[in-house]
């Protein structure tokens, strides 16, 4: 089955070669970071988490979103998702691997990473997040392997896989909940100290994840003979619509509580994000872009005519993905540190090495998705032939 990854046309190989080059550049900068220390990034004593943890947070959402195809297909027997469920699961696997890499490159002493398992600490959410992510990875590897193998042999998958799939559903929810708890349990960081953070994470995940899946399916349709089917794409569009409505609603709830209560510690962070503090406005244009894109996507999603037009949906999905990437992959983590516990505004911006390392990890993710999808589609084509 895996041999399918090694058979491909020129386009396939040049794409992988290109990704490999990007990965190598990222790796080169990682070696530099390894040598110099994390000081090579834009992070500082005051903004001590940056792009790496932000990307990690965003991508956990993409990983969790596989549940949006797995649940209808396996629990409700929604047949239209039959073709794309495996794509969702492979997307989850690639994303979890990216997440782990983003945490890894963020460590000051990466060789000591095993200490998390050598000294398991039940009161640390970081420990639970590692457990949740590794478990989710193992579950999805088993599920994809077994179901694809069964498909390959044209037999029904073994019965024991169903409970594994059912467990993977709440497990997907758990990875993003625990990731939210990493932040929302910290009393000293008012920006994150909100019970709605986990629901917000899930809502944004279930918008951005399926949006990426739609983009990938439509790309596959153009590049290969694979067709996810209009019904599946339309249904994904509907899922994105509900999730995005919930996401924007939750953000508005944050605004209400923060600004109506007017507690200075809480207001300050929001002010930095959307207005700027002490004339420091680095994230303001980004956040307004994100807000504008959110509203625009809602219009495009809520109107059925626009949503059910495949070309329009593709545009909408790109907008949704970008909007949430800015909100979660940039604004959310950094702003927790601005202002500092002393009320000072010390800004952050990723450096060149930091950005290339991040792009390199994304390239690894895209590389994995390419190879996994190649395998899945080749197996399917073989059966059809």
């Amino acid at each position: 089955m895996l041999e399918h990854a090694l058979k491909g046309n020129k386009k396939y190989w040049s794409w992988l070669l290109f990704l490999a080059a990007v990965i190598l550049i990222g790796f080169y900068f990682y070696l530099k970071q390894f040598d110099y220390g994390l000081g090579i990034t834009g992070m500082s004593r005051n903004v001590s988490w940056g792009l790496y943890i932000a990307q990690f947070t965003f991508i956990v959402g993409v990983a969790a979103s596989a549940v949006m195809v797995v649940l209808p297909y396996y629990l409700h027997n929604y047949k239209a998702f039959g073709k794309i469920t495996i794509l969702g699961e492979f997307l989850a696997i690639s994303s979890v691997i990216m997440c782990m890499m983003f945490v890894f490159v963020d460590l000051g002493q990466p060789f000591r990473v095993a200490n998390i398992f050598l000294y398991p600490t039940v009161h640390s959410l970081m420990f639970w997040d590692v457990i949740a992510l590794s478990g989710y990875l193992v579950l999805n590897v088993i599920i994809t392997r077994v179901t694809l193998d069964a498909e390959h042999k044209s037999i029904a998958p073994p019965k024991w896989i169903r409970p594994v799939i059912v467990i993977s559903i709440p497990w997907a929810v758990s990875i993003h909940t625990v990731t939210a708890f990493l932040f929302s349990g910290l009393g000293g960081r008012p920006f994150w100290l909100t019970a709605i953070l986990a629901p917000r994470f899930l809502a944004s995940a279930f918008s951005a994840g399926p949006a990426l899946l739609v983009i990938l399916c439509l790309l596959l349709k153009r590049l290969t003979k694979f067709d996810a089917g209009t019904e599946a794409i339309k249904k994904l569009g509907l899922i994105i619509t509900y999730a995005m409505c919930a996401n924007v609603f939750f953000i508005l709830m944050e605004f209400f509580t923060t600004f109506y209560s007017g507690i200075p510690d809480h207001v300050a962070h929001m002010q930095y994000l959307y207005i700027g503090l002490d004339g420091k406005t680095r994230l303001v244009p980004w956040m307004w872009t994100s807000a504008f894109l959110s509203v625009l996507s809602l219009v495009f999603l809520v109107v059925p005519k626009l949503r059910n037009n495949t070309r329009m949906l593709l545009v909408t999905c790109i907008i949704v993905f970008l909007s949430i990437w800015i909100d979660k992959g940039l604004g959310l983590v950094i702003t927790g540190f601005i202002p500092t516990p002393f009320g000072k505004i010390i800004q952050y911006w990723p450096t060149v090495p930091e950005s290339f390392i991040s792009v390199g990890i994304w390239a690894i993710g895209v590389f994995l998705i390419t190879v996994f999808y190649k395998i899945a589609l080749s197996v399917r084509r073989e059966i059809e032939a």
Binding site: Y36, G37, L38, G39, M43, S44, R45, N46, S48, W49, V103, D106, L107, G108, Q109, P110, R112, V113, N115, I116, L118, Y119, T121, V122, H123, S124, L125, M126, F127, W128, V130, S174, T177, V178, F181, L182, F183, G185, L186, G187, G188, R189, D265, G336, F337, T340, P341, F342, G343, K344, I346
Partner: protein, 268 residues
Amino acid sequence: MDKSRRNFLKIAGITALGITADKLVNIRAQQAVPKQNVKDSVASKNIIKAQKPGPAAEVRLAMVVDLRKCKQGCTKCIDACNKIHNIPDFGEPKDEIKWIWKEPYEDAFLDQENYYMKDEFKNKSVPVFCNNCDSPPCVEVCPTQATFKRDDGIVMMDWHRCIGCRYCMAACPYGSRSFNWRDPRPFIKNINPDFPTRMKGVVEKCEFCDERLSKGLLPACVEVCPEKALTFGNLNDPQADVRKLLKENFSVRRKPGLGTNPEIYYLV
């Protein structure tokens, strides 16, 4: 956290809910035994005695900073700390490492903003360091127990175990923790051979000079302060100077509302 409860929790197979339960138990335990009621069992002003392992909560080390005495522009405590602890000087704020430093009163006590304060306080710079909290959030979040609380209350760092994830820095409400963003060794002016230097990629902070306490010495900042503005001792000893100072003066702590129980008291 006491051992039996930790074991109990382990056996119980802690889930995410277990974490909340642990918190509740903690809160109940604190309510059940108010710290003031702990028996007057340690009648020593002697720091060495304070170091001897005794039943938990017998010793609770704390610092009292008398802001009325602390002199503007004086940095003797900071200099002494930097020197003996091999604190590097990078010459820029981004990578900065500091265990004790001064902040304007208004910034150190952000949540106690008052109009028309005495000028003396409004412009005062306040020495700040790790509060060595009684309920330290950094210890709670550390995934490897590289930062941990001793029975006498000092929050310690194990620089050989720290993986450099900086979760503790996110959790600390006081900005007390520093990270080695790069190799600090070339930036230490005169290396003190009696104290370890750190490597890049680990977190560090004030530990109330535990290396001096174990020799029966006071923390360096306390010792060098020419105004005697810093007092250090066992808060659970009714005879201790720290207790007397707190009894006779009005004191404040930084962000007490967060439930961290900071162990640094400021007399104003």
